[in-house]
């Protein structure tokens, strides 16, 4: 597909600005009624979903040109999908996120690149991860854990760690906790260790399509070789890409793809995960965009008139992962759940996605701070979430902005409640 293939979507925009708001039936207050970090931070219509579609249309019609300033507008967006979800409450014929993605690919094709994003892509090419960390150290997080090496052995569950978890020193224990929960339940888990690569999703989001396809091919071949029937990942970003992007690129994995919260939920339901220890805390839960609305599986690449597209094939975010993390949270002994105002399909983003953290860290921080304010307003004592990028963004922001709200990964809470011992790194 190319940008021009979405011209009808662009021409359908009625400029109603519904893309800037929480779906109207879910507005609960003045304070938390808006849904799009970009338009809220920068205010010009150009920074909304609608505005970016109009820019794309303007460029295609030769009314304006793509230049450095316009490319910055395109990239000052987390690709969180909130605009798309809101639009699709009222529209059947516009795939807003697809337009935003195509616009980024168009920027790359046109040579309008951000230096910070080029650094990410260079790191990816050099080390197979978006953080630029040494490839040979990717599997260190798993040292000493009784995991299978899928490069040499077959396994029941292929565990994909993801870039952020693999290298972030604060999050490595979380990852160890995740696989420890699986092992404790008797699951045979395999990993690629140092051979694991990025899923390629971030490259796709930044507009670098070729790189994304290469990484999809890599993971596809590894999954086939592993013989695994299930791939589990703790990375919400990766989850969305494997569920949506891979099938969209024609590279569907030959196995079931689950997020760790889904797998743990199954273990809980089957009695293989027992949460015993009390965590008497009132939590609020942050829906990661890539686990929620953007985590909806690929439904179809509808070629015809989208006004005729069945509702069941419309990517509206409803089939994202919302219940499983909440069930886990509710199952924690003594814990309570206080919902924020913007949740599920219309949750506010953590700010880290779409290349914003790398290129515009002040904007990422501003976005996360807004979410933490909302979390505090819920009355919760702590925030829990299920994505390493979100955890990192919230912890860093809380620390920098002096916001007193503990931030937890659900995996850590489950490990604590299960009372299992996670072996220290060897």
């Amino acid at each position: 597909m190319a940008l021009a293939d979405y011209k009808r979507d662009m021409e359908g925009c009625s400029r109603c600005s519904s893309c800037k708001w929480v779906p109207f039936n879910q507005i609960k207050s003045w304070r938390f009624a808006k849904n799009c970090p970009s338009i809220c931070r920068y205010n010009f219509h150009a920074y909304s979903g609608s505005g970016r579609m109009i820019i794309a249309n303007s460029i295609l019609e030769g009314r304006s040109e793509l230049n450095e300033a316009v490319a910055e507008i395109v990239y000052r967006c987390q690709l969180c999908g909130a605009c798309d979800t809101a639009c699709k409450v009222y529209r059947d014929d516009i795939d807003l996120t697809e337009v935003l993605l195509e616009l980024r690919a168009f920027c790359v094709e046109s040579g309008e690149l951000l230096v910070e994003h080029m650094a990410v892509i260079d790191a990816l090419k050099r080390e197979d991860n978006v953080l630029g960390e040494p490839k040979e150290r990717r599997g260190e997080w798993a040292a000493g854990l009784p995991l299978k090496d899928i490069n040499r052995e077959t396994c029941e569950v292929f565990f994909h760690a993801g870039c952020r978890y693999s290298y972030d020193p604060d999050l490595r224990d979380t990852l160890r906790g995740a696989v420890s929960l699986l092992l404790d339940a008797g699951v045979e888990v395999g990993i690629a260790g140092a051979e694991e690569s990025c899923c390629g999703g971030r490259a796709y989001e930044l507009g670098y399509r070729g790189e994304a396809a290469n990484y999809a091919d890599d993971l596809l071949s590894r999954v086939k070789a592993s013989g695994a029937r299930t791939l589990v990942t703790a990375c919400a970003d990766g989850y969305a890409h494997l569920r949506y992007l891979y099938p969209r690129m024609g590279k569907e994995l030959p196995c079931e793809v689950l997020h760790i919260t889904q797998y743990l939920d199954r273990l809980l339901a089957g009695g293989r995960l027992r949460l015993r220890n009390s965590l008497p805390t009132l939590f609020t839960y942050h829906d990661p965009c890539h686990l929620g609305r953007m985590g909806e599986p690929f439904l179809s690449d509808w070629k015809g008139d989208k006004l005729e597209r069945p509702m069941s094939l419309k990517r509206a975010g409803r089939k994202g992962v919302y219940e499983e993390p909440r069930r886990l949270l509710r199952a924690l002994p003594g814990a309570g759940l206080a919902e924020m105002e913007r949740i599920r399909e219309y949750a506010w983003c953590c700010g880290a996605g779409g290349g914003v953290l790398e290129a515009f860290p002040d904007f990422a921080l501003w976005t996360a701070a807004e979410r933490l304010e909302e979390a505090l307003a819920s009355g919760a004592e702590a925030l829990a979430t299920a994505c390493p990028w979100c955890v990192r963004a919230f912890r860093d922001t809380a620390s920098q902005a002096g916001i007193d709200l503990p931030v937890y990964d659900l995996i850590d809470l489950a490990v604590t409640a299960a009372g299992i011992s996670v072996p220290a790194p060897a």
Binding site: R15, F24, K28, S29, W30, S58, R63, A69
Partner: protein
Amino acid sequence: MISDQCFEELVQAVGPENASREPAVLDTYAWQPTFNNRPHPWVTRPEAVVLPASTAEVQAVVKACNRHGLRFKAFSTGWGAWAGPSGEGVVQLDLRRMDRVLDIDEKNMIAVVEPYAIGGQLRAEAMKVGLNTHMIAAGAGVSPLASACAAFGPGWDGTYSPRNLMGVEWVLPDGEVLRLGSAGSGLGWFCADGPGPSLRGVMRGKAGGLSGNGVFTACALKLFPWPGPPRPEIKGLFYDMELELPWNFRLYLLIFPDRRSWAEATYSVSREGLDYNVMKSPIGVVPVIVAPRLTRKLAGFPNLRAALSSIQHGTMLIMAASSAGEMEYRDAVLREIVNAHSGMIMDFGAMALGGTFWWSVISGAVPPMSFRAGGQMQSGLGPDDAWDTAVAWDASGEEIKREWIAKGGCVDDLADACVDMLWEDGTINHSEELWYYDPRNEAHVAALKGMAFDFLLTAMEQCTDQPWNIFPEQRKLIAPLQGRFNRWQRELARAFDPCSAADASLYLGEEDMDFSGIEPGKVEELRRLMQERDWLREEEAR
């Protein structure tokens, strides 16, 4: 073209982050496809766009435009072609940084709001204290201030935006600030007409000045009692929405055998004050919103079409009560009215999706769903008048639409998507025939002009109000039939806008109507009616 000096002054006024003349950014203010009958959706690109955050910043921008011979055009949420520039040399003021609900005065049932506080936000805040706002017909995503001060005003909850206005802060076209009502005397926002300047009529008129007479930076609006929960617990977004109708609400669909019995019964319901909301339930609207693809298929089967048309004459009624006894009484009165007009009552609130519809109406979430049918909608905006006049418009709208549906000029909504609303117990009423179209469908776009003309001709024939007289072509044509209102507007503009700094095309503009493509017989009939109905001509000749 804007000079560097002028742009620099705009930057000084609002800060460098809040002014732009980047062409691509400006184009996002030139895309205005809604209520735009031209063959393409682009309007003229503004010279610059600014984002003021305060009344003082608005003043500074307006004064800069006065100094440099530019015009200004402000909008709140910016939906509709009337929000964009009408021609070259216009600075666009996007008021989205002025988004606060400044006050909710629970005791006096008043809210004070800025331009970009939308209906959904005001509704949510008001409900927390047992009040609700007038939800304007365009829904929760648009500005109650704009509706009350500057643009139209219909709503579906028994009232009309300009009637709710309690005070205004108004940046005049020369940049001075005028506060109307008690706020003008520094006494608070409790009264629209004093102590202090009482200029609501001058400020607002019928359709509003659409920024052609200045910029409104704050206003006070009446609030109304809300007998429901302060924050209804709702899951889902539409089809998947889950909620129970509160015990003290009812959502009924009233069906009548013909238009006359429907009209009389609906009027009685309103006159008796039974309603929290009462409006026509057009047979074309609900299927198009809920299942547009299915509706397209059903419309092709004559028998199914006939079956749906047999329940065409319906009214949606939301009733609220403060006690079981009160609801019993309302139910009894309703039954009596409905029985007297051979109608039937469907307890829609007790059915699947009943709660969904109830909340979608109350929360103002329905209007943007109109896009589902074809991607865009247009309106045969009719009278705000006596109920009989509205009913006549309803019937005419159906006839006009049937003709154009047959010609493939719009989406087939069974020719009935007329929004008829009764306000203030039926004292004033509104009728508006919507049509749905696909802006990417050449036949639909080509039909826009002809359909609009047919509604105009019908308005002439029926001697009804024609709110589209905001557009220069219609203003010039209709003004002689409406007391030469255009002359008065020009006089006011001379006093208020000596430098012609406001982009006043939609307030003052006059152009000859282009009749190309319109059937000659219809044009001839329009000219004949113009002659016949120009009631000031003979008097002026004397």
